[in-house]
Amino acid sequence: MAIAYAHESTADQRRANRTRAVEGRTVLCRVRRCDGPGKAGRWESFKVPVEPGMNVIACLKHIAQNPVTVDGNTTTPVVYDAGCLEEVCGACTMLINGMARQSCSCLIDEYAPLEGDTITLEPMTKFPVIRDLWVDRARLFQSLTRVKAWVPIDGTYALGAGPKESPEVQQDRYDMSECMSCGCCLEACPQFTIEPDEASWDTSFIGAHAISQARLFNGHATGKELKNDRLDELMNPGGVSECGNAQNCVKVCPKGVPLTESIATIGRQVTIRSFTRFFSGK
């Protein structure tokens, strides 16, 4: 089997790459750089010696300490967003060989197993670039406010336990609650487009992650008190009906959140809600 480099590479192919990784090799890290909003982008390449188990973050750390390009030009360390490095915070998402994923869990052995192989790093395209690989994902969090993604509790005083729930319901909610707001589903979605103007966020397509959060809270005994508010928002422009059913979101979600199931469920809830609203007027 040939080494798979393309962004369509499967998990199996990447695992196979890992078994064939050459020890002591040097790879080429090709990075899309940009000095700030409105500035022109450029490519810079760096030679990086690879240790076993090394990930993209370790490459970027190496470059920070040795900011010299393959052409021998001194440059600045690459700017990127990062946090936990365990794939639970969502911060270090970027395009790696053209595909959105977390850079912490991206092992060089899987993407560039042979001497001289190239690995390409670019910022996500659906959010405005702040600098280099760091993008502004404020809109992603704003969409959580749009769907009121919270349980309306009475306050923090001691008022006893919450509602009971079955292990099945807990498991379903947990699966949705693992969403770390990384933005992979938005990057892959044909209907979600970059929207630098904050004024239009409220009416632009909200994306799979927020629809799934609406389902998460609609499925909680207290959270469902705001169900109608959430469904009304998702009936508006930018709501669930703008999903084009490409199903890319669920394929790229690093946490396996059942995004298409959520879109289908919310679609049904919205239909019922629109009938109720039509006939009852509230």
Partner: protein, 660 residues
């Protein structure tokens, strides 16, 4: 007069719990964070959160015993009153999180499920899959977003705390705001606040590679310390026994892997080259189970770390001759493992490539948590210890019937306030709860407890304390401009340090190289095993690094989103905090909890049942003083966990905890 606001620095569990509690009280909150708060380091906590519960209670457990375990685990270095109040509150905190919608794992009868955790013989750990910290953080993030939507909390994300703004000197010193920098535009400005809550977490990056997130530099705590806040028990650094070694960081393998039945072993035969699965049961050395028959694999973290370190470094019995041992779950039902531990097993598979359901994991200890932190005080509550309850044995009924009394007075202005009036410290950056070692699944508890309980104190202080008679909104602007200017010139000095006129890869003045060497040195000298001579050597190395840092050169002179500047500035603060950690370790001539000195292998209560208090001197040095622990509720007893004597006669050898 405009209404006094509260500033909270840090949006992890402690910061968010405080924000929600204070905003609920009607006091407006400004919340500062270097990252969107949903990405705070609390997401990394895996195992769970401890609290007495009905099942455990009916088996003889109580809040009081949770209190007792926490003290015993922490080797009696914590003041006892705050710990009592925290454990009293624990069940209420679980209920509140439950109401917020945290998907706690459930039993078939829909009750909250429980698991066993280190340092207890009772099941008292509540959990949400293997990402409990993430789930708790999200619940608080959601409540914060709700208040933000209502205009009661204002978030300042991607703002870095640079310095506290204070007025007065000595005991009259008071915090009236902060200076911070927008990490994108690089704008520096000051903000007024009637009170400032530091909830900035730990300092793992001082040790280079740790289980901490990349933001956990300890820089914020160091800046407060340099402005006069005391730093306490700095030498108490928890090294988690089971971390996955990695090139960029050490990834945690939760204690819950052992709680659910994971067994730690090495081949009995030194240098055995067979695959783990080919080594039959009798030829495996389950060294924790053999030495500690009661607690087995669930001894507290410092003991487990030391035993693993001893097996690998001193006895040379590590797997494949390397610094690693097996953590084995492969004897258990794979479906059960997926259900209970899915998240953490996936992490291992993702980063290492083996499936822990079928192949034993390879792990080694890694720096994980700082018990030490900013010094704080409190007002003791109504609890009156009775002589006959001085010794509490596991399974004993709680004293004074079921009424255990209050450890601290709710709402007193000074609860978890530092020595600077109006400056509070909550969560990991607060030294108060865990003594010399933290028990697993107590961190999430202490963070949320700080926010909810002492958040009341902050609100009361802002309404009725110093800000009432002397509001910060009426202070002279010059007070704030002075600190803004100080930070502005610090930044300009760093930026003008010679960008481009020298070899950027020369490590002498490279901030990343200095940071790396600091980590290697601190890990080698000041973690699992310490000695006086090695710590002295470490202080000399810190002198050298500090001198090199004076000439630090940045390879980025940009005035837009300059991460190199932020990191280089933090390295200077890390060097200063590292000195407190190493010097405290040198002067604490005993072994206690996670602080283990081979030259002083025993606990020494008469001399060292005392809090280490570090004070900053203007010349950059640190003065250390030992202050007696307030310990009149429970009598200190030997911390053995049923094993043989803790003193070990082994050659003092120095090795890095995990190669950096």
């Amino acid at each position: 007069m405009s209404q006094e606001r509260v500033i909270i620095v840090g949006g992890g569990l402690a910061g968010l719990a405080a924000a929600v509690r204070i905003a609920e009280d009607g006091v407006p909150v400004d919340l500062f964070s270097m990252v969107p708060v949903k990405r705070s380091h609390s997401v990394c906590a895996q195992g769970g959160i401890n609290a007495c519960n009905e099942v455990a209670r009916q088996q003889g457990y109580s809040e009081y015993q949770h209190f007792d375990e926490t003290l015993y685990g922490g080797d009696y270095l914590a003041d006892q009153n705050p710990v009592l109040e925290m454990t009293n509150w624990a069940p209420k905190i679980i209920d509140l999180l439950d109401r917020m919608g945290v998907p706690f794992n459930r039993t078939p009868e829909q009750n909250r499920d429980l698991r066993l955790f280190g340092g207890s013989l009772f099941k008292r750990t509540h959990f949400a899959g293997a990402t409990t910290g993430q789930q708790l953080l999200y619940a608080l993030d959601e409540q914060t977003r709700r208040f933000e939507a209502e205009g009661r909390i204002t978030k300042h994300e991607f703002w870095e705390f640079l310095w506290p703004v204070t007025v007065g000197e000595g005991e009259d010193k008071r915090c009236v705001g902060i200076t911070a920098q927008d990490m994108r535009t690089m704008q520096i400005r000051s903000f007024r606040g009637g009170a400032v809550v530091m909830a900035t977490g730990g300092c793992g990056l001082i040790f280079g590679k740790s289980t901490n997130s990349v933001i956990c530099t300890g820089g914020a705590a160091s800046r407060c310390y340099q402005d006069g806040a005391w730093y306490a028990n700095g030498e108490m650094i928890q090294v988690h026994p089971t971390a996955i070694p990695g090139a960029d960081k050490l990834r945690l393998m939760s204690e819950s892997a052992r709680g659910e039945g994971g067994r730690v072993w090495v081949p009995r035969k030194k240098g055995d080259t067979r695959k783990a699965t080919d080594i039959p049961e009798p030829e495996r050395l389950y060294f924790l189970e053999e030495k500690y028959p009661d607690y087995g694999n669930l001894v507290p973290r410092d003991i487990a770390s030391r035993e693993i370190f001893d097996i690998c470094v001193n006895q040379g019995m590590g797997v494949s001759g390397q610094n690693q041992v097996y953590l084995d779950l492969s004897h258990m039902d794979p479906d059960y493992l997926t259900r209970k531990l899915g998240g953490i097993l996936e992490i291992y598979e993702k980063f290492v490539g083996d499936d822990p359901r079928h192949t034993p994991m390879r792990i080694f200890p890694g720096v994980h948590y700082s018990m030490g932190g900013m010094w704080t005080t409190y007002t003791p509550g109504s609890y009156e210890p009775r002589a006959r309850h001085g010794v509490h044995n596991p399974g004993d009924a709680a004293p004074v019937d079921t009424e255990v009394g209050r450890g601290m007075e709710l709402g007193a202005h000074n609860n978890m306030m530092t020595n600077i009036s109006g400056l509070y410290a909550f969560g990991e950056v607060n030294f108060a709860f865990h003594g010399a070692t933290r028990l697993g699944a107590n961190a999430l508890l202490s963070c949320i407890f700080d926010g909810l309980f002492s958040g009341v104190s902050v609100a009361n202080y802002v309404r009725d304390g110093a800000p009432k008679s002397d509001p910060t909104s009426e202070l002279d602007q010059g007070v704030f401009d002075r600190v803004t200017a100080q930070e502005q010139s610090k930044m300009e000095r760093l930026l003008a340090s010679g960008v481009g006129d020298s070899d950027p890869t020369d490590p002498t003045h490279n901030p990343y190289a200095i940071g790396h060497e600091l980590g290697v040195e601190m890990t080698a000298a000041s973690t699992v095993v310490k000695t006086g001579p090695r710590l002295e050597q470490c202080l000399t190395k810190l002198d050298e690094l500090t001198e090199r840092y004076q000439g630090v050169r940045l390879s980025d002179g940009s005035m837009w989103t300059n991460q190199t500047l932020s990191y280089a500035r933090a390295v200077g603060d890390m060097l200063i905090l590292a000195r407190v950690i190493a010097q405290g370790g040198l002067l604490r001539k005993e072994s206690r909890g996670s602080h283990y000195r081979t030259d002083y292998p025993d606990r020494d209560d008469p001399n060292f049942m005392k809090t280490t208090i570090g004070r900053f001197n203007p010349d950059g040095t640190c003065s250390i003083e030992f202050k007696p622990v307030r310990a009149d509720l429970v009598e200190a007893r030997a911390r053995t966990y049923g094993g043989s004597s803790k003193s070990k006669k082994s050659e003092p050898r120095q090795e890095t905890v995990a190669t950096s």
